[in-house]
Symmetry: C2
Subunit: 462 residues, 2 copies
């Protein structure tokens, strides 16, 4: 009988995260203070993050030990299984071998707890009593709520109001884990009240919710803020996934020719990809592809520039691929991929031509998700469907070229809390939300007055 | 670092199911024809089930080989992990060791595919093109849809109308896997039309949906019917779970003093319990507890009698604990436990004092689910919360008695598609639905005119 999945024992759980910073061919540009434009130092960040996370953000140590208490609780869902997608291969009549990592087995149903757990832990040991955060569709908010429960921390989540009203399930998950979740803009913060004064019916946005969460963290007693993607320490924590994959691929006796992940802020993609990026820097030939929605094409159509992380220009400026902080993505169902920026590490690796990006339209992603569900059995999150669509493209290409490629992708989460999106697709209500050039240009105008990092054009190395 | 879960390799997957029939101290009473009252033979069942399943229903073979194709597809989610609930133990300050089997990792999120998969397989090899079934909240309908997709079978699900309208997520799961799901009563069958003629606004019931599915199977081309619990072959397939548990407990170096599962039709409970029942018959001292809702107390307050499986009296009569086929359970959120009858095998084992039953009220189950989510991390299905409530009672008892008991329970599924139930609980909208004696008496009157099996009173051995 053919082996379908490779399962590591608990003893094989990686005990260190991989930090790519010392291995980057081009060092990261420093974040800049939103007011002064000067590089941000640890002290600037200490009101919002606990010091161990700030130090990880700038660490040049290649491998960082995972604390014992974090390892113990990682075991709730890790190591996660690596699957060989035999049925999908057969359906596609491809000579390619397709592997996927199942990150959907966590209690929150996605990869997000990989960083929520250590973030809760480092806050706990630093004396934080309450963590404040924002969430869009709720993947991150629910993951953080779950991990705060494990460490006895309070958790306050500002959830974009339109999602709060339309997608109650993840909000109830947060409450089941003991967190408090309020619709944003709220009347609880000055930022929220300011927005509501001008727009009483505001549906909210991730940018507004970030402002509220940061304000609540800064003004609250023993409170800190947490971010679920983009930053270096978040990507660091997610590398436990790629490190497991490397062990599992070795057991399978294969090595990937292609590594694929969907990318919103970049942490899910990077979590799997970075350990393979290291191999590539050391000489391996791998095609590493981040997949984004065609309607929010940060990596494929946004320049590499300094920009704010939020709409209201309060966060530090990061050097990254960006569509401009005022860009409002179309209401696609992959809420986790609707972000104007991209993790600086991922952005820099694109600039250095080490990884590449592809954009796929919404309808193709749902068709891919349906194909996956009817072959491999699992119903994927709409975000994950972006990776699957790219896998299918690559597998079909392998068939056309007659090549027995090894494709590895990150199955970042299940879609059981996102069934309304599938219903919309199955009933023909979805569209691709093609993005006109003018709309991008309009949003990009906001970036122009800002200081520019040394490299500007995608695809060139300075 | 303490081991949190015991994970079997794919090679350790059991290759046979355990059939308890040859080991039962009292043989099962035969099912009776609803019209003639005579014992039902294989030919009576052949219009609705394929022959391999009919033969399993009456098999006296102790171990039955699992076909290779079923084993291959079991590997999509099996073997499932066995967890040690350290955090819950600590929270309860109990000397008891608590183990739970995580059946929530299947694509459908529950134990149901354990039997949906072989049922789809045996239908496929018997020439069935389409399987018809009923579903209440949708756990069974979604599991069967998933497994029909794997074998390229059509799947038609009659879903109780009130659930169809109120709980769309599992219906969309079915459609994502390619099944057709219609609200019952429907206009597609004579049974449905008959009900609608009298009650155009009928919210439907499991009894009506069964009638529709059976009718569709009998009248449709190459169509068969499938049932998700109660019958012997369904319990047989579920034993793969208990057989895995036995291997895992041996690896853990423990043997359970107490085995607990929630019981609606009985297959989830029996799937874990029956291999341990065999040990008990062979001399082991184990307390084996089926847990049911206090508002639908089939095992604890229903007599052991011949009764119909459906409301409209079309199915064979089974010798079982029953509240009467006209009993309408309160609208508790554990939809999978709202059934008037109980599997004949489970019922017979209760009569023989080999297993016992306990009933728990709804509020206690949700409180248990919240405790579990905030300690062990996983959000449970409302059905599963019944088992957890009992585990907590037993763990507290162990603390009071100062005994280091080993408790094993079946964590039969996650609750991520049931979050509305948690919201209702958290907002104080739920009640226990205490069941007045008169209501039971009224429903039981329907049983009286029927032929009685040899044993009648619970708790006595004939």
């Amino acid at each position: 009988m053919k082996q379908r999945k490779i399962v590591l024992s608990e003893k094989e759980l990686p005990t260190q995260w991989y930090n790519i910073q010392p291995d980057l061919p081009t060092p990261l540009e420093p974040p800049l203070h939103p007011g002064t434009g000067n590089p941000v130092g640890p002290d600037d960040l200490s009101p919002i993050f606990p010091m161990p996370l700030i130090l990880q953000e700038v660490s040049q140590e290649r491998f960082i030990d995972i604390p014992e208490e974090v390892l113990e609780k990682y075991l709730i869902w890790r190591p996660t299984p690596l699957y060989r997608a035999y049925t999908l291969e057969k359906y596609l009549e491809t000579p390619a071998k397709i592997y996927f990592k199942n990150e959907g087995v966590s209690p929150a149903g996605s990869h997000k707890p990989n960083t929520a757990l250590p973030q809760a832990y480092y806050n706990k040991i630093s004396g934080t009593k309450r963590i404040c955060t924002e969430t869009g569709a709720g993947q991150w908010g629910s993951a953080l709520s779950f991990c705060c429960a494990l460490f006895g921390l309070e958790c306050k989540v500002y959830m974009v109001k339109i999602s709060y009203n339309q997608k109650p399930y993840r909000r109830i998950m947060m409450e089941t884990w003991g967190a408090t979740c309020v619709p944003s803009p709220s009347t609880e913060t000055e930022s929220g009240r300011m927005i509501l004064a001008g727009h009483p019916d505001s549906p909210g946005s991730l940018g507004i919710a970030i402002s509220e969460a940061v304000e609540a963290a800064v003004t609250g007693e023993n409170s800190k803020y947490a971010l679920g993607s983009v930053l270096n320490h978040v990507l660091l924590h997610q590398t436990i996934n790629g490190l497991e994959c490397q062990k599992q691929m070795a057991i399978a006796g294969d090595y990937p020719d292609v590594v694929i992940g969907c990318a919103g802020g970049g942490s899910n993609f990077a979590g799997m990809a970075l350990p393979f990026v290291r191999d590539k820097i050391n000489g391996k030939d791998i095609d590493i592809i981040g997949v984004e929605p065609a309607s929010c094409p940060t990596m494929t159509r946004g320049p590499f520039a300094y920009d704010f992380g939020d709409t209201v220009q309060k966060t530090p400026l990061l050097a990254m691929h960006t569509l401009g902080h005022s860009f409002v993505p179309a209401p696609i169902h992959a809420g986790g991929l609707r972000y104007h920026g991209m993790a600086p590490i991922v952005s820099q690796l694109i600039m250095d031509n080490i990884i590449r990006a592809e954009a796929v339209p919404q309808l193709e992603t749902f068709q891919a998700g349906i194909t996956f569900a009817r072959t491999e059995g699992f119903i994927s999150a709409p975000e994950t469907d972006h990776a699957i669509a790219m896998v299918i493209r690559e597998a079909v290409k392998a068939r056309e070229e007659g090549k027995e490629k090894v494709i590895l992708f990150n199955w970042s989460g299940h879609g059981l809390v996102d069934m309304a999106a599938y219903e919309a697709y199955l009933s023909g209500q979805l569209s691709d939300h093609a993005l006109p050039e003018e709309e991008i240009h309009r949003a990009l105008e906001d970036i122009a007055p800002l200081p520019k990092p040394k490299q500007y054009k995608p695809g060139t190395i300075s």
